[in-house]
């Protein structure tokens, strides 16, 4: 009852590799991981791929299927057209070990840096008392199977190796959130730690992590945003800090909000009367109003637009056939930096006065 389908699987190691073509039998009810196993049992016995439970519970078989980060065991073949080519590549954010296996040690290092649960002093084992509604908030995050798809898709590290040092990633933000919301955790500075040491401020809430989570954990809405909001309250967010800096330049002199920006930035205190904004000297009433309400973390982020594709529904060029590692320059190949001064379209407020 099986039909032959066309698969392209990336084979190689850290020295490079390419997509190899396979015609594989596919039967009703199978998932992508079954096809990888069939390849191993037939033409490619040394095809490297991680897997364990094959039930979406262990998070081992993370891979990119037609460019989407997914679990191989949870991607049913019936979601593809009969004649559709299925392209399987390793997670892009982590260095390739071999074939579909990547070096995910980045995640384990970040896990190690995240401060552990601090048991409450003076409560003996067996005497822990918590209400179901209180543990449920943390339990959502403890559903995490550590597939690292959220880490893989997060653009802060996906194309910026240099950010890996300072940025722990969505998986560890929800770890921090989980502990923050744990009814009996004795450590009280989880949010501040997430901001100062885990790089929470790098996250600009594009919700990609939530979108790829196979456990459907609301990473951004229930984990990252509440932490950011509360941390904003405490003046650690760079946006708020930036606001207060701009403000201090004296362009909006009505009030003197400096360190008291807790109320100033977010709740637009009217201490000395009149409105103020931390967004600089804009006189556009709409911008002013927006600045009044502070940063709206709940805003609906527009969905990514569909790229221009060819007749087959494919991008004309894939990353894997592209002639260099990582993404091309958004400024175009013909632009080099620094730009010559005459190419700058910048007018100095004083010197260039006409």
């Amino acid at each position: 009852m099986g039909t032959k389908r066309h698969f392209r699987v990336w084979r190689g190691d850290e020295n490079g590799g390419d997509l190899q073509d396979y015609q594989v039998e596919v039967n009703e009810g199978e998932v992508v991981l079954d096809i990888i196993h069939r390849l191993q049992a037939t033409e490619a016995p040394d095809l490297a791929c991680r897997w364990n439970c094959k039930a979406g519970k262990c998070g081992s078989c993370s891979m990119e299927i037609n460019g989407m980060p997914k679990l191989g065991c949870m991607t049913r073949m019936s979601t593809f057209e009969e004649n559709e080519t299925v392209t399987v590549t390793p997670l892009r954010t982590f260095p390739v070990v071999r074939d579909l296996v990547t070096d995910v040690s980045f995640n384990y290092e970040k896990a190690r840096e995240t401060p552990a649960f601090a048991p409450p002093a003076g409560v003996a084992p067996g005497d822990y008392r918590m209400q179901q509604v209180d543990v449920e908030r943390s339990q959502e995050f403890r559903k995490c199977i550590e597939c690292f798809l959220c880490q893989n898709v997060c653009h802060v590290v996906r194309d910026h190796e240099e950010n890996k040092q300072a940025f722990s990633g969505p998986r560890y933000f929800i770890r921090a959130a989980e502990l923050d919301m744990h009814p009996l955790d004795a450590k009280t500075d989880r949010k501040e730690y997430a901001q100062s040491d885990m790089g929470l401020g790098f996250c600009n809430i594009t919700k990609c992590c939530t979108e790829v989570c196979p456990e459907h954990i609301k990473i951004t809405d229930n984990g990252i945003i509440p932490m950011k909001e509360r941390v904003v309250d405490r003046r650690y967010d760079p946006l708020v800090w930036l606001g207060s800096k701009i403000f201090r330049r004296g362009q909006v002199p009505q009030t003197s909000v400096t360190s008291a920006s807790h109320s100033g930035a977010v709740h637009s205190s009217t201490a000395k009367g009149g409105l103020h904004s931390h967004a600089g000297g804009s006189h556009d009433p709409r911008a002013e109003a927006q600045a009044q309400s502070g940063v709206n973390w709940h805003r609906e982020v527009p969905r990514p637009t569909v790229p221009a594709v060819d007749a087959n529904g494919r991008l004309p060029l894939t990353e894997l056939t592209f002639d260099r590692a990582a993404a091309p320059s958004p400024f175009g190949d013909d632009v080099t930096f620094p730009l010559p001064p005459e190419h700058l379209n910048f007018a100095h407020p004083e010197q260039d006065k006409h």
């Binding site: 009810g29 040394d46 995910v104």
Partner: protein, 643 residues
């Protein structure tokens, strides 16, 4: 010589092989005892098969029904194991599991709660009271994550005090041990390879804890992952230890049978605990026809009483869907063989018509999710298709019940969790394995540490043994004429699934032994294509050797035991035989060959056997043993009268 000189060497006090629940708990204990500890994980850290456990961890905390206590738990465990359990292990397990669960809360675990804020406990097959601490239906994940995070917290302490995370406890992820190395009769080290690079590594350590899990990959339909190749069983055998109860394998009664790609994945027993019922293709709730005499007292014989039990368990008998697993598996098997199965060869498990959709989603979230995503089945609307699947091996390394130290000729070897044998007798109750991991993980880790304290000198690894281990490991890569390891595995799975499966017959078992002997020849010549870096074909070729020897133990013991009991069902000997209850079958290795011996079961202490009714014991014990029991009771009565 040059090859062995270049091998990476590490010195540890305790090496724990296996990073599931038992391994991590053992490692925590060894580290807390101040020993430098290595954890060897065949997969990435935190991916172990423990994550698959759904139902919960059994511990008589009495949070939901205050009449529960360790004696009741002990009794249920012995009953479930058909009295073949090592009584001391069952006793320690029942006594210590509550502390082990409470301890997890101090590591950060978040179990579901009762109204008064305690750990909630749920009903499960074979347990008299609600006893399973749980987190929805992902308790195994919670357990592994909690232990993983506890290890991280110990590493953070070490970083603060000693400057390095790895100073006293280190995880070697994606590392496989292929051989234990001995100095005389003492463990001296463990040899293996890194999966990523294919490079070899030697751990020199005087104490090794095996926590490698089970053997399910030798079966066609199994819930077990690729790691479950009986490594620990085989390592122990080759090191001179013994295995017991290898004929007892648990087939989980309700694994998914559709779609084919996920055949074998478990549907948790709590679906039945929460009201799910089994029906055949004629729509009949058939379990009422399969209540064995020994269970008549506890299980309802009509639907009305069974349905009342969910609300009023004190005044009604339990629904027969909650019979021990082997009874349910056998019943399903009989229905399918009688032509009343589903198209995919299972039966229907129906929760949709029993609970409102919201309630199902709330109580069984990951079950709902799993069926929706994998099979496009909405369990709140339609029944599931389930059938028996190989799930757990009761047999394993024969150990001292208190310390987990392996019997046989080897010293310094410990075992805990599924790889050890005895605790569950002939059949394991659901929920007892997560608590088993914790109780005996802690014990074996602690005793491995104290074994070191009384050891006069560290054993040494011999160069010859090391060279031999290297040669064995490289052999499949150097041959290019042998067979593909995947084909050999399929053949092995066919032999075990068809001939040493859930229902066994003498002729088939004898046939199986012949075929296993042929497979042994072929496995000795297996060849793996490709290089040493992350080469799954090579890894499987090395695992096959272990799977084969363990399968031989199972087939031999299954042929020897001429009765049906728990996880061992002989069509030609369908009844339980009290004479066989007194015997453990013990496997050892003589050269290359598996040797089988009979060994009497340890005798239960009077105060423990006194926990049972005479009527119940009558179903299990020989007349001679019953006479002893009567004498014991009349002695006690006389003593009471005398006082």
């Amino acid at each position: 010589m040059t090859t062995t000189n270049r091998i990476e060497r590490h010195h540890y006090d305790v090496v724990v092989i296996g990073a599931g629940g038992a391994g991590l708990r053992a490692a925590i204990e060894a580290r807390l005892a101040g020993k430098k500890t290595a954890i060897i994980s065949k997969s990435l850290f935190g991916k172990a098969h423990t994550v698959m456990a759904e139902g919960g961890a059994a511990a008589a905390m009495g949070n939901v029904n205050s009449r529960d206590n360790w004696q009741v738990h002990f009794r249920d465990t012995m009953r479930g194991g058909k009295f073949l359990n090592n009584f001391r292990m069952a006793e320690l397990h029942a006594k210590e599991s509550p502390q082990r669960i409470w301890e997890l809360e101090t590591y950060g675990a978040l179990f579901d709660r009762t109204k008064d804020g305690k750990i909630s406990q749920r009903n499960f097959g074979g347990h008299e009271y609600p006893r399973l601490a749980h987190v929805g239906d992902r308790t195994g994940l919670e357990l592994i994550r909690t232990l993983q995070q506890k290890i991280v917290s110990l590493q953070q302490e070490d970083k603060a005090n000693l400057g390095s995370y790895d100073a006293r406890i280190k995880v070697f992820a994606e590392t496989t041990i292929t051989e234990l190395l001995l100095d005389g009769d003492k463990v001296a080290g463990a040899f293996g390879y890194y999966r990523e690079s294919g490079e070899f590594v030697l751990f020199e350590a005087p104490a090794v804890v095996l926590a490698t899990g089970g053997v399910g990959r030798s079966y066609k339909v199994t819930s077990n992952s690729w790691e479950y190749t009986g490594d620990g069983h085989a390592l122990a055998l080759r090191a001179g230890a013994t295995l017991i109860n290898m004929e007892f394998l648990q087939f989980h009664p309700t694994g998914m049978v559709w779609p084919p790609s996920v055949k074998g994945i478990l549907v948790t027993e709590s679906v039945r605990g929460d009201g799910g019922v089994l029906k055949n293709s004629e729509g009949k709730r058939f379990m009422f026809d399969y209540v064995p005499d020994v269970f008549r007292k506890q299980y309802a014989d009509n639907e009305a009483e069974a349905d009342r039990w969910y609300k009023d368990p004190d005044n009604n008998r339990r629904p027969p869907e909650l019979l021990p697993r082997d009874e349910v598996a056998r019943a399903i098997n009989s229905e399918v063989k009688a032509g009343r199965g589903t198209p995919a060869g299972g039966v229907y498990l129906d929760i949709a018509s029993r609970l409102p959709a919201d309630e199902i989603r709330r109580r069984l979230p990951s079950m709902y999710h799993q069926f929706k995503e994998l099979a496009d089945v909405d369990i709140t609307k339609e029944p599931m298709e389930v059938g028996p699947t190989c799930h757990y091996v009761m047999g394993g390394v024969e150990v001292d019940p208190d310390s987990g130290a392996a019997f046989g000729s080897v010293r310094g070897l410990f075992a805990a969790g599924e790889v050890s044998g005895g605790m569950h007798g002939s059949n394991r109750l659901g929920g007892n394995s997560l608590s088993d991991l914790l109780v005996f993980g802690k014990r074996s880790g602690g005793h491995a540490a104290s074994y070191l304290d009384q050891l006069p000198a560290r054993p040494k690894v011999s160069m010859e043994a090391l060279e031999a281990a290297v040669e064995t490991a490289l052999a499949p890569l150097q041959r290019d004429t042998g067979e593909n390891p995947y084909h050999l595995q399929q053949d092995l799975q066919a032999v075990m699934g068809d001939l040493v499966g859930i229902i066994r017959r003498e002729g088939e078992l004898a046939d199986a032994l012949g075929r296993l002997a042929e497979l042994r020849e072929r496995v000795a010549k297996v060849s793996a294509a490709g290089g040493r870096r992350y080469n799954p074909g090579w890894h499987l070729a090395l695992d096959l050797r272990n799977m084969l020897v363990v399968s031989e133990c199972t087939a031999k013991a299954a042929l020897e035991r001429q009765e049906s009991r728990g996880g061992h069902t002989r069509e030609d000997f369908p009844a339980m035989d009290p004479k066989w209850r007194r015997v453990n079958l013990v496997c050892s290795l003589e050269g290359d060959a598996v040797r089988l011996a009979h060994k009497p079961l340890p005798r239960m202490r009077p105060e423990l056997i006194g926990l049972f009714d005479r009527a119940e014991l009558g179903k299990y014990l020989t007349d001679e043993e019953l006479a002893d029991f009567d004498a014991l009771v009349s002695d006690a009565d006389a003593e009471e009268a005398g006082n």
